[in-house]
Amino acid sequence: MLEISKGKSRLLSSIMTLLAAVFIIPVLVILMNSFKSKIYISDAPFKLPGAETFTGLENYIGGIAKTGFFQAFGWTAFITVFSVALILLCTSMTAWFIIRVKGKFTSMLYYLFVFAMIVPFQMVMFTMSKIANMLYLDNPVGIIFIYLGFGSGLSVFMFSGFVKSIPLEIEEAALIDGCNPLQTFFRIVLPILKPTVITVAILNTMWIWNDYLLPYLVIGNEYKTIPIAIQYLRGGYGSIDMGAMMAMLVLAIVPIIIFYLTCQKYIIKGVAAGAVKG
């Protein structure tokens, strides 16, 4: 790209460093406040904890007890992992079928999935949560099925786009050699789809892990996910326990940052690929 002089490069580096600090500071402020006694947080949020205000892990212990954080973490992980796995398996198979079997029915299905992508959640939230309730899907297992249904639009669309680019000859050769469609799909097609599998997995993980309204409406009365547990801290009109809030925010961010730093390369690529197609 454009080469720039050393002086300019240094100036640019320092501007970027400053901006990076601006991006990180909010998270650090939360971290710092999570170790302060709750009455000192709202009054002086930018002051470091001192001898008087430092409370050690008290906020964490209290917050975990209040929100049932570990349970929430467990449910969120359970729902996210199994929903994403089910979405990947089912929608990749469906996309392959839709593209390979040409016909009115499959092309109608394709357009329905594309249509579903643009419908905002508010449009179906009331009726869908009532239906989930009637069909006994209002539990952590049932909600996985809901996520498959609601997430299938984007996922089928992204897989279809990639399937179209796979040359037909490879699959035909496999079928001639005696593979049935299932074998063809799992041995030939799925390995070729791997980059899209990663993209779709990342997009769905980010969505489901952070989703608030859908799980709140469907299973919120009995089971809390992390976002529900945090919103729960606000409660009615009373004042928020700021100490517990800070500690829970930190606990909510830490797994995301660990996930991000471990698969950073895939996340950035996946998000960019998803944006261009979506």
Binding site: M1, F23, M93, T94, V119, Q122, K130, N210, L249, I253
Partner: protein, 280 residues
């Protein structure tokens, strides 16, 4: 080949289709129908014609939310994209630590809306402390608070897309412009910006839909306060459904309008991207 695959319909398509019908198709059709009904649960619906839609347009809070959301969307589109583009320009000059900067700027995008809302509630209240105010003491604090939050969340995301666009420009073009004596500003305006137009369209629409549909951040940061002065569309719909008994039908009518608005935005995007493909 088609025939042999066709027989496997129950394995390949049926599970997805069943879930899709239950979680999307049926709720969607019922939703459209119920927007013409009065109901409190879905089984006691009575057809009332257009009265929900009439009530919706008489609801001042709703109209206010609509305009608040529109203004918010425009401001956030402009600010997010300007900052993201500048960052992308800065990070394609080959300075040291480019990867680390990129990692840091993108990080907030992965944090969920509820968590983001409470992070910024603390920060903004902390800043306003000096002036003896909180984020819910005046709608303009809430508005700019939401803008700051949105920028913090989306800049990194848009920046990634812009970086990909800028890196796609062939260095020869810029070299040629330089030889012809173009200044840095001229290169930016006449070469870089036109060539990253596809990325600009994508980013504009992504920020548009993300801002227009905002819910979690709104709920966590201000919950609509003071009063309903920072209540955005999605939150207004939610509150109509679950906060006012007897207004479920109006809530559903609002949801239908919301869907139509989002669909129009999506179709516009399709139109703009298609047109560009033809031009190329």
């Amino acid at each position: 080949m088609q025939k042999s695959i066709k027989r496997y319909f129950p394995i390949f398509v049926l599970p997805t289709l069943a879930a899709f019908v239950i979680a999307f198709i049926v709720p969607f059709i019922m939703g459209v129908y119920l927007s013409f009904c009065k109901f409190t649960t879905v089984v006691d619906a009575q057809f009332v014609g257009l009265s929900n839609y009439i009530k919706m347009f008489q609801d001042k809070d709703f109209l206010y939310s609509l305009s608040f959301t529109a203004v918010f969307t425009v401001v956030s589109m402009v600010t997010v994209n300007v900052f993201a583009f500048l960052l992308a320009l800065g990070l394609t000059k080959g300075i040291k630590g480019t990867n680390i900067f990129r990692t840091v700027f993108f990080m907030p995008n992965l944090i969920g809306g509820i968590v983001l809302g409470y992070i910024w509630q603390l920060i903004i209240n902390g800043v306003l402390l000096k002036y003896g105010a909180t984020i819910t003491s005046d709608a303009k604090y809430g508005f700019w608070g939401l803008i700051v939050l949105m920028n913090w969340q989306l800049i990194g995301y848009m920046m990634i897309i812009y970086i990909a666009g800028i890196q796609n420009i062939s260095p020869e073009l810029i070299e040629a412009a330089k030889i012809d004596g173009a200044t840095g500003m001229q290169i930016l305006r006449k070469v870089t910006v036109p060539l990253v137009m596809p990325s600009i369209t994508i980013c504009l629409f992504l920020t548009l839909t993300n801002s227009f549909k905002l819910f979690d951040q709104n709920l966590a940061l201000t919950a609509g306060g003071p009063g309903k002065e920072t209540q955005m569309l999605a939150l207004n719909i939610y509150n109509t459904f679950y906060g006012r008994v007897g207004w479920e039908g109006v809530g559903q009518a609002k949801a239908v309008l919301f869907f139509i608005l989002v669909a129009v935005i999506a179709l516009a995007q399709l139109f703009f991207t298609r047109r560009r493909e033809v031009e190329n």
